[in-house]
């Protein structure tokens, strides 16, 4: 059975071109970029090139790109870094209720240190209201961090508008763009933001490497201490193959944003249409302002994990909420923030498409899901036969 991978929101397969680009740095070009001899200089050049590729892709300057070990570390560096540096000027952070745990948990850690955090609500589509942001800002606010595209429901926030409010109030604005970079065009100048998080493995690059865009002049203190690498903002021997792979991956992704993006979006719309025909189902997230590759549906009366396991047995890899949160049994905090009931949230399915998915695969999924949903509903204690419930 050919497997169908529909979990590109969790991670993506690495592109062959990216692998080929990394290969020399996993074999012969092994030097430490900090070394002044030829082995070192050679790889230093490669790291610099990758930095340019990243900068070009998001319309930044190379000096504004700091490589990290991934999206989680970038989020932490942005938030902890700013707070450590200017937290004495004001003790208030603003974020949203639907952030990834990398942001949410970091904000909570700041709360434990005595900072105040406002978690902005979202509407039923998962959108933040700019008015809410405006009202939440006070004279103690030093940082606003609002994600670009939501990893679970795909809703894309009006970052430009939100960042403008931040700017008007002289507050730093960070956005977690892990789900949007490589999926939709990103221009940090146009967005008007101060910091942006990205992670290579979400756009066909390697795992364990990411970057933080830090606009020139932004005051920030490093989180990890040590040597002089990455302009002393992120010490540690550079993950050279990872950095080179990130550079190549972001370049490739940017080149095909138009073409592949349209293909993926077409499949997404087909999938949404097909699955919406299932009785008692609903689309989660915004119908238009959503990631081109994200489908998130709730099917009442069934539970996500059983659905996933059944799909897996049919060769379909999907997820229910973010893979990164799977350590928890609570229903998705994102769906709850959007007002779904505990039960509806439990029955949610996330299908995230990628560049290699085909129309045939989508047809297969549109057939498979309703069968499984029906089977699970037949054995569900809360489906129809409620009248049979004798207990108190």
């Amino acid at each position: 059975m050919n497997k169908i991978y529909l979990d590109h929101g969790a991670t993506t397969p690495m592109r062959e071109e990216v692998f080929e680009t990394m290969k020399p740095y996993l074999q012969d070009n092994f030097g430490n970029p900090s070394s002044i001899h030829s082995f070192g200089r050679e790889v230093r050049k490669a790291v610099d090139e990758a930095r340019e590729q990243v900068a070009n892709a998001i319309n930044a300057q190379p000096e504004e790109i700091i490589f990290t070990s991934g999206g989680t570390e970038s989020d932490n560096l942005a938030i902890q870094g700013v707070i450590e540096k200017i937290g004495d000027k004001g003790n208030h952070i603003i974020t949203t209720q639907i952030e990834h745990h990398a942001v949410l948990d970091t904000c909570e850690a700041m709360e434990e240190k005595g900072y105040k955090v406002t978690y902005l609500p979202v509407d039923k589509y998962g959108l933040v209201n700019p008015k809410d942001l405006q009202e939440a800002i006070n004279e103690d606010t030093v940082l606003i961090t609002i994600m670009h595209g939501n990893n679970e429901v795909g809703t894309i926030q009006p970052i430009k508008e939100l960042a403008e409010i931040a700017k008007d109030n002289d507050v730093y604005f960070h956005t977690d763009a892990v789900q949007t970079v490589g999926n939709i065009p990103i221009d940090v100048q146009d967005l008007g933001i101060d910091m942006l998080t990205l992670s290579a493995h979400k756009f066909y690059g390697p795992k364990g490497i990411g970057a933080l865009y830090i606009k020139k002049g932004t005051k920030l203190q490093r989180v990890v201490h040590g040597g002089a690498q990455e302009r002393k903002i992120r010490p540690g021997t550079e993950n050279v193959p990872g950095i080179v792979g990130l550079g190549k991956a972001i370049e490739l992704a940017t080149e095909e944003l138009d073409t592949k993006g349209k293909h993926i979006q077409k499949l997404r719309d087909k999938l949404i249409e097909g699955l919406s025909k299932v009785e008692d189902s609903r689309l989660n997230g915004h119908p238009e302002r959503r990631l081109p590759n994200n489908v998130n549906m709730s099917f009442e009366y069934i539970e996500g994990e059983s659905l996933l396991l059944n799909l897996d047995m049919k060769g379909i890899a999907a997820s229910s909420g973010s893979a990164c949160t799977s350590g928890s049994l609570d229903p998705s905090h994102v769906l709850m923030a959007m007002g779904l009931s505990h039960q509806t949230a439990h029955g949610s399915l996330r299908l995230t498409l990628g560049r290699d998915n085909t129309e045939e695969e989508i047809d297969y999924v549109i057939e498979a899901v309703p069968e499984i949903v029906n089977r699970l509903r037949d054995m569900s204690s809360i489906w129809k036969g409620k009248e049979a419930n004798y207990s108190n």
Partner: protein, 137 residues
Amino acid sequence: MYNEKVMDHFQNPRNVGEVESPDGVGEVGNVTCGDIMRISIKVNNNEEIEDIKFKTFGCGAAIATSSIVTEMAKGKHINEARDIKNKDVADELDGLPKNKLHCSNLAADALTKAIKNYLGEEDDEEQEHEDESNETQ
């Protein structure tokens, strides 16, 4: 993450459904995750469980434990069936992942509750063995 036996019971759950004109029904919700399970039983004159069926809204482990608990209880005297603990259920499945041990509570609780319902007993302490779950593997 789940072993073969769990997956077998998940894929081919035994005794799904509702017993017709049951003698006892027990429904429990899991405080940890919000999942819900219902077990209905038919008891014969020897006070043996002659038929038993389940319906579950829950995860893979919840469905597998529901399935196996019906097999474990079927044909047993109600006093014996009452003694089935969540750990017995997990053991019968050759173990569950740590963070899924709480799921086996559902099955044991629903069964006990169905038997109590048959006996006309009050139900007061359904969460009695809620957290002996954590260290077995």
